[in-house]
């Protein structure tokens, strides 16, 4: 044995170990983009920075668009009132007033937030920031079977699942994309929020904020779980590695931003609006007919909607929910925003007084069950349409609906059981 070389090797080996632990090789930032990237991909503040910007996107989309939504709402309400007071034939008046103007108004009220989301997204895209965001979230996401590029769609889902699912087009890998789409509806969209606010406010007053936040957290956790399960049992493979070149940062050009937002908004309008509009008409029909029985839409207990609600009731009675909740949930299939409004319609009160009537039909435990079911049970009609479009087949769409229904009942059942057991009922 040549111990001279052995010892020399042993020393260098030792040095390598020591140096590995004490010395870090750091690329000196050379360009402006490098400089910004040192901050944006920093291991400590990178993720918080990203989350802050995403929150800014939401604030921008929902708060700043609010006046536009309200303007649309006011306009169509006025049209609706005008129609109902000017048209002689009561059925026609109802059709045009509530059905058409109501329906249009209902759809178009969505337009401003969605348009603003697309504007904000276009700005983020044009600055070149998005690849950095994907990079920063990638490690956390690959642990649950997703990848960095899944994060923006998942986060957009908190606003509305429709543009969120459309945003998955940036994911190249087919499997990664499918999984992201399939768990996206679990990200609690803004339409579900009124349900949480109403029921958490009535039954969990002091901790309402915490309850609402837990609903969002529950959605995230379930999404992570389902993504892991899908990856493991259905799709296999691993999330594709994030190989990306960061483009240099640039100032977004207003024209490009507006154009991009405009195009995407038009797509949304075309697809979802037809579905939503038809859905609103259907809802109008179901809650207004049979005309005579309901006396022109006043006595909803006698409507077709009520019949459907009663039919659904046996399914939800185990959670302490009655037929009124049934109607609301069925309405929620058309659009989740309808849930609270439907309850108002059924109880015959305005949206403001609904809170007072609620305790007559619900208990804290059943309220919890309702919130959970609303969170999970099925995608709204518009989202369903987009699912079919982006998944490419009815088979997968049906699978999504099926797993969500099952998951909703299972989780609600567990939660209801725990709540009752804890004496919350």
């Amino acid at each position: 044995m040549d111990f001279v070389s052995e010892l020399a090797l042993a020393r260098y080996e030792k040095i390598g170990e020591i140096v590995g632990r004490c010395v870090e090789r750091v690329e000196k930032p050379k360009t402006f983009s490098d400089l910004v990237d040192t901050v944006v991909t920093d291991k400590y503040v990178g993720i918080p920075i990203f989350l802050s910007f995403m929150w800014a996107v939401f604030q921008f989309a929902y708060s700043v668009s609010a006046p536009f939504s309200d303007a649309i709402d006011v306009f169509f309400s006025a049209c609706s009132d005008w129609a109902k007071s000017s048209i002689a034939n009561p059925q026609l008046a109802s059709l045009i007033g509530d059905g058409i103007f109501g329906g249009w108004g209902f759809v178009l009220v969505f337009l401003p937030p969605i348009a603003f989301v697309f504007v904000a997204l276009a700005i983020l895209e044009d600055t070149g920031y998005l690849p950095r965001a994907a990079f920063v979230m990638d490690r956390a996401l690959t642990k649950v079977g997703l990848q960095g590029k899944s994060f923006i769609p998942m986060l957009l889902g908190f606003g509305c699942n429709l543009p969120a699912i459309m945003a998955t087009r940036t994911i190249e890998d087919d499997t990664d994309r499918k999984i992201t789409i399939m768990v996206n509806p679990l990200m609690s969209c803004s339409a579900r929020l009124p349900v949480y606010v109403l029921f958490a406010g009535v039954f969990f007053e002091k901790v309402a904020g915490a309850v609402i936040t837990s609903m969002y957290m529950l959605g995230i956790v379930l999404a992570a779980v389902m993504a892991t399960l899908f990856r493991k049992f259905i799709f296999g493979g691993k999330p594709s590695p994030l190989l990306m070149e960061f483009p240099p940062y640039a100032t977004p050009a207003p024209r490009s931003v507006l154009m991009s937002a405009r195009n995407r908004t038009l797509v949304f309008l075309k697809k979802a609006a037809t579905v939503l509009f038809i859905g609103a008409l259907v809802m109008w029909f179901l809650t207004t007919y049979p005309w005579d029985a309901t006396n022109g839409g006043e006595l909803i207990e006698n409507s077709y909607a009520s019949a459907i609600g009663h039919a659904v009731e046996p399914l939800i009675r185990p959670f302490g929910l009655d037929w009124t909740a049934g109607v609301a949930l069925v309405g929620g299939f058309l659009a989740k925003e309808i849930v609270v409004g439907t309850l108002g319609m059924i109880y015959g009160v305005g949206e403001e007084e609904v809170a007072d009537v609620i305790p007559e039909h619900f208990t804290p435990a059943s309220a919890l069950a309702l919130m959970i079911i609303t969170l999970i049970y099925l995608p709204c009609l518009a989202t369903l349409g987009i699912l079919r479009q982006e998944l490419g087949s009815w088979k997968w769409t049906a699978f999504v609906v099926a797993y969500e229904l099952v998951l909703a009942f299972v989780v609600a059942w567990i939660a209801y059981g725990i709540a009752v057991g804890l004496g919350v009922a």
Binding site: V26, P29, K30, T31, F32, S33, L35, V36, T38, V39, V40, D42, Y44, V45, P48, I49, L51, S52, F53, W55, A56, Q59, F60, S63, V64, S65, A66, P67, D70, A71, V74, G209, P248, Y249, A250
Partner: protein, 128 residues
């Protein structure tokens, strides 16, 4: 840029963030003056963390500049929200007092200026 610029901004944004957070959790306006919400507080704390990180990092200037950028972005955002609320109140026909929407983030805007100037200088002198 000296590190004490970052130190000052760190303390100011941290204080603002904590008070807004506290106010948001209790449901009150801060000092009866600024409306508050929990997330606004969190974000100010994140911004303060960026300044803090810059103090010990090699690339101090980058963190200082970016933290200032964030302050500016959120300040402008809240100004937009302010105007949106005003517009909304007019449309819906409600009472509106602009002072009620004057958030801490808007008031902190001027603090972002030195950092923004530095950032812009860097943008012009360095390759993209």
């Amino acid at each position: 840029m000296r590190w004490y610029y970052s130190a000052i901004l760190f303390i100011v944004t941290l204080a603002a963030g904590l008070t807004e957070l506290g106010g948001g959790l209790k449901g009150e306006a801060v000092f009866q003056l600024f409306p508050s919400d929990v997330f606004g507080g969190f974000i100010l704390i994140v911004i303060s963390a960026v300044f803090l990180r810059g103090i010990t990092h090699d690339e101090h200037d980058a963190f200082f500049g970016f933290g200032s950028l964030m302050l500016a972005v959120f300040g402008v955002l809240y100004i937009l929200v302010l105007f949106a609320n005003g517009l909304d109140a007019w449309i819906v026909g409600e009472e509106w007092n602009p002072v009620e929407d004057l958030r801490i983030e808007i008031v902190l805007l001027p603090l972002a200026i030195p950092g923004l100037i530095a950032l812009n200088r860097a943008r012009k002198t360095l390759p993209p």
